[in-house]
Amino acid sequence: MATVMKTTRDVKGIGLSIPRPDGPEKVTGQVQYVADLSPRGLLHAKLLRSPHAHARILRIDVSRARALPGVRAVLTAADIPELKKKAPTRAHAVLAIDRVVFAGQPVAAVAADEPAIAEEALDLIEVQYEVLPVSADPLEAMKPGAPPVADSGTEADTSEAQAHGSVAGITTEAKPAKAVNISQQARLQRGDVAKGFAESDVVIEKTYRVPMVHQGYLEPHAVLAQWDTAGNLTLWASTQGSFNTRTEVADVLELPENRIKVIPMECGGGFGGKIRALCEPITAILARATGRPVRYVMTRREELEAGMPAPQVIIRLKTGVKRDGTLMALEGEAILESGAFSGAVLAVSGVFLASLYLWPSFDVKGFEVLTHKPSIAAYRAPVAPQTIFAIDSQMEQLAKAIGADPVEFRLRHLQREGDKMANNQPWLSNGGAEVLTRIAEHPLWKKRAEWKASSKNGRLRGTGLSLGGWLGGLQPTGATVRLNPDGTLQVLTGQVDIAGTNIALAQIAATAYGIDIDKVKITTGDTDVAPVTGLSAGSKTVYTVGVAVMQAAQNARTQTLEIAAKELEASVHDLEIDDGKVVVRGVPNKGVTLAQIGKKGNLYMSKVEPVLGTSHPAFSVQAPAFCAQLARIEVDPETGEVTVHDFVVVQDVGKAINPLAIEGQMQGGAVQSLGMALTEALLYDDQGRLTNPSLLDYRKLTSADLPNIETIIVEKPAPHGPFGARGVGEPPIVPAPAAIANAIEDATGVRLTELPLSPERIALTVASAT
């Protein structure tokens, strides 16, 4: 169980803006990603993917591909005995057996000496398909009689939802209703909404829509697989969770977990898209079939067509308010399009819709719908940006309708600690009100009327803000802290460092032990050597692993002091560690160095135990973290182009362990949020095929599209976080879509409810409004 660490000591770690220690390796291009590994005998893998979103496979002929010189293996489902007929998860659907359920689904795999040869081999594989009707639109797919997606009997996959530690206690029914493609549904109710609406003065009903988007990491999925002669598998993977990868691969290949070693390489971005196994099983199977190391790197086109994007979210929201500002009732329907396999985090949507602001009565239904599209996975605060887009836009419109100040209206109704969430759990301590208040004090907010009035040359100026957040994830973890014979410290976790958390963990260890940060080395171990740990996701790395490291360091400190106490014939309580030495308080010349203690634990025939601090905690209390964002924009109403002049991110981080790293998270998350707001969408045709499978047409924002992102850190300590820290990764991706939509309304008078807020949508809506 986590304990709060209080200290009045001059800490030499916490709160310092220390650059990541791997900075020099990264700026010189020396850090290694999977695609940089080229062992001897390497083979290159390519997958043949279905061009159809729904089809029966009648026949596959690989003979000509197999005959191409340089091709070492061509596999279809028939060659893989472990494949289950009814794949419970996407990872189990290694190669399609007799039916494809999304365009881009792999149907055959090739390993060859060169990538170009592998590509040619794909062209030589003949597949005969019988094309079947497609469920491409979730609203259509929900209806009885729609073309079915799942094999009947396939269970809903809620592992994703559980991985994100989202709100407990909601009953999600896994059994579909009459409609065959509804794979999860849930309902949250309180009070009498009909009565609430009847008594409302203003009722606003809108439908908000956010398309599927891709996590957009720069490094595509990549994995290198190799077996040894004893039948052990090693995977060098780009992953957010080496232990999770190991578990999934073990399950798919029906292997014991301890026969698989997952070595997490530097991960070129994950954001939730590299949690679930995707390429690892097929690459491992190709390596087994060829007896050689096999490397598979997805192309960008494959990532966009056949990755694991964020779900499309459609929220119909009806809200009633009295003219005096009292909230009366909320009715909502959230439809999450999950693609071909279930896995959406349904519960989050309900919680944020119905209990971010307190509604006396609400009725929220959630549906997860399957369609013939690539199945979804998490994307940084899954479903929260989409949900906040809906509820915050709605709150803004309600405030406007009754003439209330938008910030005061939100503050008035914002949940506070102890209030009942939609699932009847109490809201935990959080800084939601603090960040909202702080952003309202910003000059950009205070001067918004002047900004708007300064519109000129046909351009329209406006300002908008929004509040969002994330509930915070939890997962058990472990860490060890070792004292080296030279007095330096060694920290080991299994935690993949995708967000620069290692430096923060090192700072925590240094402070908890009592040593300078430059004496601490932290290592992320592979699954053979590291303590079992969870995902680098859910904004929980510092919150959970930080506690483990802190406790392990405290444990090591205790052991160190006990050894020193015997040496110095003093009481442990009279000792302190200062400048690499354990000294008796007040008697600086009586001491023993850490190096001496470290050596004693390692000498031949020594009776002194080596210092090895350990910790293996589990957690039960989340730490919600809130983020408010403000956008000052200028709109060209004729072309619809939006210029973001200024953008501010205010975030409650509990305790800023490393402000430099935290700013980077806030800025990066904000820009992903702006991308969702302004330009990003995976666009499918009505046959379920992606029409924009390149980065030319899947538009991520460039530096020329953005201003400097201003960051303001607020600290409302989390009772159970290490030094009060909360997770910081996810909150900043949440608010921007609503903030931009609010700003566009301020500037132009039009309210848009569908993302992205593209120039076309803006220009044509403005044109039709005038």
Partner: protein
């Protein structure tokens, strides 16, 4: 039954969410579907080559010889910014690639006997962006070069590649149309010249025969009181492709417009001139009202499709806006 043609298809009524049908240039023939029937995909009707032979000519004559030998199976490579993505996507699988980077003549920019500028077909977009001679008199062309992709792409992308790839959205085509440029083409039968206005024959099709090479562009001097501008709309400021592009060029004499040229990209299978709009401006002083009228006439020339980059409605809307804006800027530059 769904067929995807050049015209594309829009699903959904006005005001509803639009599903964008793909442009046929994105989808290869093998990816069309016929519901309810079985069919064989990926059989080898064409040579399936990902590997190719590379030819490295050092002169224009070398190129012509290489093209003559196996023209239909060969593709010319200049900057590679269009060809390489097409090779990687499997849209093109040539047996031979002819690299033009060793042919120095194609990268030259020189005055053309006092009558204008001679711009080699392998001149990069970046060079067009920065070259003093181009900026001095042919600013709209420099502007179009400046908009292509990003600096890393502009350092590679060539004028000739942009034209010969002949995407409807080719940025450098409208300014050349508006400047009455001529393409100089050479082949086994010698050299010929083709006005840019007739150079494009369809989506990704030009007048070039398979054994011919675009050598250079001749751009005549616009005249003393002439100004031009190229604008395009893109959702992002860089790394993007035109949803609509418009180039305008106005030449004045004694307060009257003697020549008006308006050329549009991405609103028809080929870049087109809005001749009715041009005629509405010529012979009179240019006023904001006449500019607005010309912009309306330009819309009538546009026959845009709806695709995932933009709907036909939005494209028509943009033609009006960008024509108005480029004409306004062209007028200011001509009057300066």
């Amino acid at each position: 039954m769904l067929r995807y043609t050049n015209a594309g298809r829009v699903v959904g009524g006005p005001g509803e969410r639009i599903h964008y049908a793909p442009m046929s240039i994105v989808w290869s023939e093998t990816q069309q579907s016929r519901l309810g029937a079985s069919w064989v995909a990926e059989s080898s009707r064409r040579p399936r080559v990902r590997r190719f032979e590379l030819i490295l000519p050092e002169s224009v004559d070398d190129c012509v010889r290489a093209l003559a030998q196996r023209g239909p199976e060969a593709k010319l490579l200049a900057g590679g910014t269009d060809l390489l993505p097409q090779l990687k996507n499997g849209l093109l699988k040539p047996a031979r690639v002819i690299d033009l980077s060793g042919v120095a003549r194609l990268r030259a920019i020189e005055p053309a006997d006092g009558q204008g500028l001679r711009i080699g077909s392998a001149v990069t977009a970046r060079t067009l962006e920065l070259d003093r001679a181009v900026r001095a008199r042919y600013l709209s062309l420099a502007e179009s070069g400046a908009l292509v992709g990003s600096v890393q792409v502009r350092n590679l992308a060539t004028l000739g590649g942009n034209l010969c790839n002949a995407a409807p959205s080719a940025d450098m085509a409208p300014p050349l149309l508006a400047l009455d440029a001529e393409a100089v083409i050479t082949g086994p039968k010698g050299e010929r010249r083709v006005p840019i206005a007739t150079f494009f024959t369809g989506v990704r099709r030009t007048v070039l025969a398979q054994d011919e090479l675009l050598v250079e562009l001749l751009v005549p001097t616009p005249g003393p009181r002439s100004g031009g501008n190229y604008l395009r709309h893109t959702p992002r400021r860089e790394l993007d492709i035109a949803v609509v592009g418009v180039a305008s060029q106005l030449t004045l004499a004694n307060g009257v417009c003697t020549k008006a040229r308006i050329a549009l990209a991405a609103v028809a299978p080929v870049p087109v001139r809005a001749t009715a709009a041009e005629q509405a401006l010529e012979g009179q002083p240019v006023t904001p009202e006449r500019i607005a009228r010309a912009a309306d006439l330009a819309v009538e020339v546009a026959r845009p499709i709806s695709d995932q980059r933009g709907s036909a409605e939005f494209r028509r809307h943009l033609v009006r806006v960008l024509t108005r804006r480029t004409l306004t800027t062209a007028l200011a530059r001509a009057s300066a």
